[in-house]
């Protein structure tokens, strides 16, 4: 299966996310030490996984939140992971996300012509997904593994 240069061009880029989302959601939800995720462990074993989960949540709920300048919440990316990592470890997830972005983008496939724009769109949907997670947390959902399972079960 050939993937052309699309992923090669994307691989050097890194998704964007707020530092607070990294510290309060991505980091606590993923358990880097435990590759096998023991019983009672966290839902994700890699840092990129909660990011992509948030992105899918944003896409399904069509919640796209562009980044704004937040003085107390810096943008954090590059030093955590890039698309190369996502492609190597979860290419199906990355392809699904790109296709979903194409589906929702008003210019459709044209988004593919601009890798930075594609990254921005992926990051915006993830940002929207993080907002949804925060809202659920505010509603008292603790987000243990069973809560993640409940959330995906409720999807149409």
């Amino acid at each position: 299966m050939r993937h052309g240069d699309l992923f090669q061009e994307l691989s050097s880029l890194s998704p964007n996310f707020y530092e607070s989302n990294y510290n309060e959601i991505m980091e606590p939800f993923s358990d880097k030490q435990s590759q096998s995720a023991d019983y009672g462990g966290k839902a994700f074993t890699m840092r990129w996984q909660p990011f992509m989960y948030a992105c899918i949540l944003g896409l399904i709920n069509k919640r796209r939140v562009p980044f704004q300048n937040r003085p107390n919440d810096k943008n954090k990316s590059g030093d955590v992971f890039n698309y190369q990592v996502i492609f190597n470890q979860g290419h199906k997830i990355l392809v699904s996300v790109i296709l979903s972005v194409i589906s929702l983008n008003k210019d459709g496939y044209k988004i593919l012509s601009d890798k930075n724009k594609l990254n921005e769109e992926i990051s915006n949907y993830a940002n929207g997904g993080f907002e949804i997670i925060r809202e659920m947390q505010d509603d008292g959902i603790s987000f243990g593994f069973s809560d993640f399972m409940t959330e995906i079960s409720e999807r149409k």
């Binding site: 699309l6 996984q49 992509m52 896409l59 296709l99 589906s103 399972m149 995906i152 999807r155 149409k156």
Partner: protein
């Protein structure tokens, strides 16, 4: 004897000064676990005998005063501040002897044990510690001196106190139904039978004096002083052997008694273990099944976690993926149109049929000029062939986009298939998870039920099932060791008895020789010999009377115990137990009305039987001495049912002139008990939280005694 009141000041659970006026008849004290019942019970013991009972540890003589003083008062004792702790018992008519000796004007005696502690730069020092008995005589105020002696002789002898003032949990040690010596010890300790032993002691002493006098007389009449002296020495040596062997036997008997008690205790625990086996195996089975379900749940959860982060998070993307395939097709359509446009030929350009004809004829059919094979014109015409099948290259930007679209276009369909599989996998997981949760819920319910059964069993039998089973091997080893020691003692006892018999034979022969050496004919009718014979007859008579009286007493105890047992168990149709006591062997047999053996009764019923026997002996003793003692018991009924408890309490009120019963089992029936005319006083132990903003803890709570009737 009657206890009029008990006053406590900063004693264990009771902060500050508290006073309880006790009535004649039954005084009931009701309180939950940890409410201060045992502190109240210990107040009586500490005041009279300076000892306290600690659950699971037993009696503690001269306890540390810091453990006696109220904890919360001591905790907040400021620098150089002092705290006084005391217990005062006011007793009326202790016994005739003390009343006669003291010439008290009102027969009221105050027994006070007290001490003062001081916080000396963080160290707690004992400032003062006193014990005194105070009464009023014609001259005014007086103190009995030494007070300890009066407690022992004139109030309640310590040995008796164990039987009339006891903790429910120590009743097994008071009377062991599996050990005949245990019953004999109880009878000897608390009945009037010991009077015969006292008489025998006196008579034996008299007998010894007569022997001595006879010996002096015999020496004065003997013709062979040397032989007489030698024989007398031999007699003395053998008499000493008898005394020594008796001491050895006493020691061995006492050790054997303890060993038999311990053996009985272990055997009873091991018997309990047999009954627990079934419960334990059921619990283990349920626990194993629970563990297996929990393990399956863990495995399922781990699998699900991996699947969730690998693919399941994609669930729900189907509509977007489907839509994306249309978007990609849009591009392809656009590009194809562009290519088609590129491929469109101008109207004057001939088709491939004409071109092939031109190449064959080697001339242009449009302009008529020649085009020989191999010429430039021929090559030009050939280049125009198959133009529609040749790919058309569009602008680089479109071609780059095309590459991306081509790389993606196969995905929407394959991912849609994946998503359909994901939906099935998640459904399968949910079903499996639901089944496991259901299984676990059922097993948890079963676990709760078996735990409840075990807890009821433990409560009923008064043992801890887990430590019991863990310790069973240890217990068997201990039992083996005791068996070995028991056999050794038995052997040593036989040896000692044999040595004693030999010595007694020598004594008999020595006495006969001494008599002959003294000139038997002359001395047969001496006063000394006559006295000696008479004292020996008396000793024999008292021994015989004791045996007859003992037999009679045992018959009475058996009869009255059975009346008490049937009174307590009146409401209980499931059991009809009675005891049969053999006065020779002191073995107690428990049978039903058809004389079938009931020795495997549960602990609750055994407790009823034990308390009935003890109460019978006490009541017989009180009747004989005309000195009814007050009765005090803490949690006697912890392994009895509510109805048995109420019957027991009712029986106590009939036997004793005054009784004090502390229990946690009366709360539910307190209103009914308040209406009972046989109960003149009921009290509640109420825990008080000093600072309600803080959690209830030892330093933050104390007990208040409230009279509710």
């Amino acid at each position: 004897m009657k206890i009029l009141s008990i006053e406590t000041n900063n004693f264990i659970a009771f902060k500050g000064h508290q006073s309880v006026e006790l009535k004649k008849g039954l005084n009931l004290f009701n309180g939950d676990i940890g409410s201060g019942k045992s502190s109240f019970y210990n107040a009586f013991y500490w005041c009279l005998y300076e000892k306290i009972y600690i659950t699971d540890e037993g009696w503690q003589k001269k306890p540390d005063l810091e453990n006696i003083v109220n904890y919360s008062s001591l905790k907040f004792l400021k620098q150089n501040q002092e705290i006084e702790c005391y217990v005062k018992l006011t007793i009326e008519n202790p016994n005739e002897e003390v009343v006669r000796m003291t010439q008290s004007i009102d027969n009221i005696y105050e027994i006070t044990r007290s001490f003062v502690l001081k916080n000396n730069n963080g160290n707690i020092d004992i400032v003062n510690s006193e014990f005194e008995i105070h009464f009023n005589d014609k001259t005014g105020s007086e103190f009995l001196d030494p007070p300890e002696l009066y407690v022992e002789e004139c109030f309640i002898p310590e040995i008796l106190s164990e039987y009339i003032w006891f903790q429910g949990e120590s009743i097994d040690k008071l009377l062991d139904l599996d050990h005949s010596n245990s019953f004999k010890d109880v009878v000897n300790s608390i009945s009037y039978i010991d009077m015969y032993d006292k008489v025998l002691k006196v008579l034996t002493r008299i007998n010894e004096k007569f022997e001595k006098k006879l010996r002096i007389k015999q020496r004065s009449t003997t013709a062979n002083t040397k032989a007489f002296n030698d024989e007398e020495q031999r007699l003395k040596r053998n008499e000493k052997i008898v005394v020594d062997e008796k001491k050895i036997q006493k020691k061995l008997n006492s050790e054997q008694g303890e060993i038999i008690l311990k053996k009985a205790e272990i055997k009873s625990k091991l018997r309990g273990y047999d009954s627990t086996k079934e419960l334990l195996s059921k619990r283990d089975r349920i626990n194993d099944m629970r563990k297996s379900v929990i393990r399956d749940t863990e495995n399922l959860d781990n699998r699900a976690k991996q699947m969730f982060s690998r693919s399941w998070m994609l669930k729900g993307l189907s509509p977007l993926l489907k839509d994306s395939s249309y978007k990609l097709l849009e591009f392809e359509d656009w590009r194809n149109k562009k290519i088609s446009k590129e491929r469109e030929l101008p109207e004057d350009v001939p088709g491939d049929i004409y071109l092939e004809k031109m190449l064959k004829q080697e001339k242009c059919l449009v302009c008529g000029r020649p085009a020989k094979s191999g010429s430039e014109e021929h090559a030009h015409i050939a280049s125009k062939l198959n133009r529609k099948n040749t790919s058309v290259l569009l602008d680089p930007e479109t071609e780059r986009m095309n590459k991306y679209v081509v790389s993606l276009k196969s995905f929407p369909q394959s991912l849609s298939n994946d998503l359909s599989i994901i939906n099935d996998e998640i459904k399968e997981y949910r079903d499996e998870d639901f089944e496991l949760t259901k299984k676990l819920r059922i097993l948890n319910k079963q676990k709760d039920e078996i735990d409840k059964d075990i807890s009821n069993f433990e409560k009923k039998e008064g043992l801890k099932i887990d430590s019991h089973s863990i310790n069973s091997n240890l217990l068997i080893n201990q039992l083996d060791k005791y068996e070995v020691r028991d056999r050794k003692i038995e052997f040593d006892l036989k040896q000692s008895e044999s040595r004693e018999r030999n010595a007694l034979n020598y004594i008999k022969s020595s006495k006969s020789i001494l008599s002959k050496l003294a000139g038997s004919d002359k001395n047969d009718s001496t006063l000394e010999k006559k006295n000696l014979k008479e004292s020996e007859v008396l000793i024999k008579a008292v021994k015989l009377t004791k045996e007859t009286e003992y037999e009679k007493l045992i018959k009475d105890i058996e009869k009255r115990s059975n009346t008490y047992i049937s009174t307590i168990l009146e409401h209980n149709s499931s059991i009809e137990a009675k005891v049969e006591i053999d006065s020779k062997s002191n073995i107690i047999e428990i049978t039903d009305k058809n004389n079938e053996d009931l020795s495997m009764l549960n602990t609750g019923h055994k407790t009823i039987i034990k308390m009935s026997i003890i109460n019978t002996i006490i009541s017989k003793s009180s009747e004989y001495k005309n000195e009814p003692y007050p009765f005090l018991t803490d949690a006697p009924t912890s392994n009895l049912g509510v109805k048995d408890t109420l019957s027991y309490v009712d029986l106590i009120s009939n036997i004793f002139g005054q009784s004090i019963v502390l229990s946690k089992d009366l709360s539910e029936n307190i209103e009914g008990l308040k209406k009972n005319p046989k109960i003149p006083a009921i009290f509640n132990f109420t825990p008080v939280n000093i600072d309600e903003t803080k959690k209830a803890a030892l330093e933050n709570t104390y007990t208040k005694i409230e009279k509710i009737k």
